[in-house]
Amino acid sequence: MTLLSIEGVSRKFGNVTALSDVSIDIQQGEFFALLGPSGCGKTTLLRILAGFETPDQGGARLDGVDLLKLAPHKRPINLMFQSYALFPHMTVAKNIAYGLERENLPRAEIKARVGEVLEKVGLDAMANRRPAQLSGGQQQRVALARAIVKRPRLLLLDEPLSALDKKVRAEMQLELKRLQNEVGITFVVVTHDQEEAMSLADRIAVMDQGKVEQVDAPVTLYERPRTYFVADFIGANNLFTGAIRGGVFSADGLGPLPSKATTADAPAALAIRPERVRLTEPTPGMVQGVVVDVSFYGGVSHIAVEVRGLGRKVLAATQGSARITPGTVVGVTWRPEDAVLIAN
């Protein structure tokens, strides 16, 4: 069931296009991520949903209700701010109770729900502290608790983990996922960190320069990118630009490459993941190159191969340590079905 539908939203700031005709449908109970480099418009979209910005064009419906007609404080949406935006003059418990007090709930119920959510995020002992007396990770939990205690239809999270160090971040990722399962609220998280998006989200919308490039599940995004940007942005990839002619993909300056081209003649790009690249004895007609760098990462090794006529090095990944040394001349190949062709 569609909970939120964003329909053709555009927003310009002066000459800068922040959002250009963005349409996304988000399902009830889904963990959805908006992923893209900084300045891609994802935060603007979030602010439009929360009501702090208005779009130049387009609309947004939540449960069929026109969101844009509602004042920010009347929307059944809560936002967890990137900077947390905790009220510095209130205790943790007061911060969390703030949203419930606005609903004029009975005191006993507010107290019970604040206690319940504090327990859920593991901060029962901190109820009477001020935000300034908490660590970054604890502040983040307070911000999360304050947002979910209202049981919104939709919870927006703006770069929720970016202010935390790496170890705490991994912990909080698991916790977010667990919480989302527990409370059953639809989550929309904005992030520039693809690992975060991939590990958390059911579906991801990849955005670039105000446009939605592709909306798909993480695995599909990784294995079947539909645009050059997505192929390049998500994970490591080897990209070759060229064209399809007569059912064969030819890279500029290299000639035909293994692929299963089915589309009609057109300019295209070929993407092949490093772990799918195979290095062999060079044979005539095969792409050849010289190994320039071998790095061992424990579980995997990365081998960089310099191919004549190609601007960037081809990256190959193998399991375990590589039995190849820099300077070796190798043939670079892959199974045709592993290559992804992208229309340009």
Binding site: G51, A71, H73, K74, L79, A85, H89, G99, R102, A132
Partner: protein
């Protein structure tokens, strides 16, 4: 330990010049002056060093208590008005686009660069019988006779308010300006109306600065003797006039020092109250 001592030494070196100057030129003379309140006034001025508490009992005569009370009321009214006018002004300036912000701040500070006396005399011209205000009012037919606008307590309040309003606006402005706009957004996001957000978030977080502004306005208003003299015509006398008259006209230093002590105590109490409130509000 040695590190702690070193930092104390460093602090002394930095504070030294200021401390010495304050002690020699402010604290010592003030204590000398205040010490005369335990002694008697000489027949032709000067101090006779015989212990007495008469100055204190004289202070509690209705005549003087009334002046002190009037001064407190005038300064209090000025402070409340300055807060009511200054807070919205400062709030509006802080939300202006940055280009207009500079212009508005300049407009607030501009009068400050003109001599205080000249500004007060300007008011006597504006408010006098044939002055601009009366001319305008008779001109548009609102009144037949010029109003008596000068030389009453209301005029003193207007003059003090005009003189010290910017001391209220500037600290509040900087507090609103520094306030993270995300806090207001967070409040709205949690379901608070704009009015609720103002009273629950914006006001409590800018209150310490408003109190600083209140002290900055109250203290010089309370002790002022120029404005009551020029705009009050000497009829609306305040504690500042009383002190000045004891020292310069009656040549009664002991009693002058006694009244001055009242003023200093009121100021100290206000500063302490302000410090307590702002410490409590600040995230400890």
């Amino acid at each position: 330990m040695s590190r702690g001592r070193g930092s104390i030494l460093a602090r002394l070196i930095f504070l030294g010049p200021g401390l010495i100057m304050l002690t020699l030129l402010a604290v010592v003379p003030m204590l000398l002056m205040l010490s005369t309140m335990f002694f008697q006034r000489g027949r032709f001025g000067g101090v006779i060093y015989e212990f007495t508490t008469a100055n204190f009992s004289r202070l509690f005569q209705p005549l003087y208590l009334n002046v002190i009370q009037d001064s407190l009321v005038v300064a209090g009214v000025v402070t409340v008005l300055a807060l009511l006018i200054g807070y919205p002004t400062a709030y509006a300036i802080a939300l202006l686009p940055s280009k207009w912000k500079t212009i508005a701040l300049l407009a607030v500070m501009l009068p400050f660069w003109t001599n205080f006396l000249i500004r007060m005399y300007a008011w006597t011209i504006l408010l006098s019988g044939p002055g601009l205000v009366n001319e305008t009012l008779t001109g548009i037919g609102l009144i037949d006779q010029p109003l008596e606008l000068l030389y009453n307590r209301g005029t003193v309040v207007v003059g003090l308010l005009y003189g010290y309003l910017s001391l209220m606006i500037l600290p509040i402005y900087s507090a609103v300006e520094r306030l993270d706009p995300r806090l207001r957004e967070a409040s709205a996001n949690l379901g608070a109306s704009p009015v609720r957000t103002f009273f629950s978030v914006t006001l409590p977080l800018t209150l310490p600065s408003a109190l600083i502004g209140a002290v900055l306005v109250f203290v010089p208003s309370f002790g002022n003797f120029v404005v009551p003299e020029i705009l009050g015509g000497g009829k609306a006398i305040m504690i500042g006039n009383l002190i000045r008259d004891q020292f310069l006209k009656a040549r009664d230093w002991p009693f002058g020092a006694t009244i001055a002590l009242v003023m200093i105590l009121v100021t100290v109490v206000l500063l302490l109250a302000q410090a307590v409130v702002s410490r409590r509000t600040r995230s400890a």
